[in-house]
């Protein structure tokens, strides 16, 4: 078990900067997800942690120790590949024992540990079969077991669930959480699936275009995104984010949306937008869950009028698509009285609304 310090790490491939000055501190035993759209640099970051790629600038330390001079085979890192990289020419048993055999562990000790791990992963009945005969689900278990058996100091998983069918994925997600507690290991988990990251990780590092956008606990990230990208990326359905120009008229501050509509700003969100006098164009964000219909509840809540374009069933609730001029807002129909084609008022609580600088994407104000 190790703590990991990623300090100002940059990775360049020729002119292309894949990872740009990222710093992440991971404590012992923590489960951290690297989350981002594909091509954002999360896998490169993980490969650098594993030592598969060199670091161009900065350093990665394990318990304060720089590993860049240590060979890959001596780093003692557990790595689960996206397609599992099972040794298909060997038996399941030999796959599990490989990491112990190359370290010249005692035969009987190997046998004991292999059987224990097979038992834990419930693939004992498959031990003597060729690994190529396993199902994808079993391969997944074998891949995890094979890495776990050598008791690595950290555990890295590269999109381990993306090849599984939906049912098993949900099961494996829970299983991973249990395993992480059992092994008590530091785990780093790469995924592009924000739901997976939110439900599994102790902490999430959101990466976009090689830059670290935000690093923190899942709920903090959800409730308090520090920039427009994170706000947009986390949460399902996505946050409403509408862009426009700030305009002050007769003491009133409006956000003139690019689609023609305008949002009269009030309360906290107004204060947020005015917290930086240099900002002239902004992005207004509110989660669909926070919008409500019916009667106005708070004095600073913003009133809007829109036309119900579509009503979509999402589980037990209905998601309404509200058209305000050229702009679309999504909101859950808590009122349960909407009909398609209705012109209805809806309310944006200013406390739940967020303000972003459109140019830099930076969050204005805060909680």
């Amino acid at each position: 078990m190790s703590s990991i310090q990623i300090q100002n790490v940059t990775k360049r491939f020729g002119d292309f900067t894949a990872v740009d000055d990222i710093s992440i501190d991971i404590e012992e035993g923590e489960f951290v997800a690297l989350l981002g759209p594909s091509g954002c640099g999360k896998t490169t970051t993980m490969n650098m942690i594993a030592g598969l790629e060199d670091v161009t600038e900065g350093a990665i330390r394990f318990d304060g120790q720089d590993l860049s001079r240590i060979r890959i085979q001596d780093r003692n890192i557990g790595f689960v590949f996206q397609n599992y990289a099972i040794f298909t020419h060997l038996s399941v048993y030999k796959n599990l024992s490989y990491g112990l055999e190359v370290k010249k562990v005692d035969r009987s000790e190997i046998d004991r540990r292999v059987r224990a791990m097979a038992d834990r992963m419930s693939i004992t009945h498959r031990l003597d079969q060729p690994a190529s005969s396993l199902s994808v689900n079993e391969m997944q278990k074998l891949a995890i077991g094979r890495s776990a058996i050598v008791e690595p100091r950290i555990f890295l998983l590269d999109e381990p669930l993306s090849n599984l069918d939906a049912g098993f994925r949900a099961y494996m997600r829970a299983e991973l959480k249990v395993l992480q507690h059992e092994f008590g290991q530091t785990m780093i988990y790469v995924t592009h699936d924000q739901i997976e990251a939110m439900s599994l990780a102790d902490k999430i590092a959101i990466i976009d275009q090689g830059k670290l956008m935000q690093y923190g606990a899942p709920l903090d990230i959800y409730n308090d995104p520090q920039n427009r990208f994170v706000a947009n990326f986390v949460g399902s359905p996505r946050m409403n984010l509408v862009d426009g120009e700030l305009r002050e008229e007769r003491g009133e501050l409006h956000l003139m949306l690019h689609g023609g509509a305008e949002i009269p700003l009030a309360g906290k969100v107004r204060a947020d937008f005015t917290s930086d006098a240099r900002v002239h164009s902004g992005s207004f964000g509110i989660r669909p869950q926070d919008i409500y219909f019916g009667d106005r509840r708070g004095p600073t809540d913003i009133t809007m009028h829109g036309k119900v374009e579509v009503l979509e069933r999402v589980g037990p609730k209905r998601l309404a698509y509200l058209q305000v001029q050229e702009t679309m807002f999504l909101a859950f129909d808590d009122h349960a009285q909407l009909e398609v084609g209705d012109d209805v008022p809806f309310f944006l609580p200013s406390d739940a609304s967020m303000a972003f600088d459109l140019d830099s994407g930076r969050r204005l104000g805060g909680r």
Partner: protein
Amino acid sequence: MTDQTAPEISNNHANAGYWTRVARDGQKMGFWFVLPTLLLLVFIVVFPLLMQLYLSFTWWTPLEGIPWYQAWEVFNWGENYWYMVTDPRFWGALWRTVLIMIVAVPAQFFLGMALAYLFIDQFPGRKLFYSIMLTPMMIVPAVVGLMFFLLFQGTGPINDHLGLPPEFSCLTDVNRAMISVIIADIWQWTPLMFLILLAGMLGVPSDQLLAARLLGGSNWQNFFKIILPRMKTVIIIALVLRAVECFKIFDLVFIMTNGGPGVQTETISVFLYNQTFGELEWAYVATMGLSILIALSILAMKGLSYMAKK
């Protein structure tokens, strides 16, 4: 071929007839497609084999003016076979051929393997070096023979490097002629091993290799436990291919040493050639050719059934 369409259409009688007719057309066309190859095979295998068998039991030679079909006039009741079994020159040539094979092929294999390992990952200039490495096997073997003939001349550069006098030539030296030939063969055909083994090595999934390294295996351990077992088929193919080709070796030897000095480098093909054009003992050559043919066929069949078992 018409699996998906046949059930639907079988309700309709006229259509069913149409499709069977079409399928029959396919077979008919297939027949015409195979025919030329079949004819060539019959032409080059069946007829010559019979003739070879026939001639091998006679004294026939093109010298005496007897047409080959009247060779029965000099029928000799298998004396050629007895002569072959007791012919030291035949066994000598066979042994030298095998010698070249068991020295050159393993050497090519190990060199090819080492080279392939060098080329397994990307490095600047790899493409250029790779192309250079492949050139020897593309050069006409006779020209390779000429190249080494030139190199090993008494007045050639090898002697100059080794400080040997120009009167001395490796190619006419009893001890070195064979070595020279083997060196030329290794030079020309190591690239083939390299090419095939590299393809096999690159066929080992790179993430499995990475996984093995991350599990703590040294390069050495991973090579023997992951790469090598996965290359088994490729290695067998490469070795068999080279062994078969090496057994036929002719051009190199013929141009470099013509089998000499004496019979020091006379391989089976060179021996057969000399018997054909030097001694004009065509019936005897037919005897030896047929024997080699039968021996190789038995070997090939054993090999194939062994592979089929595995």
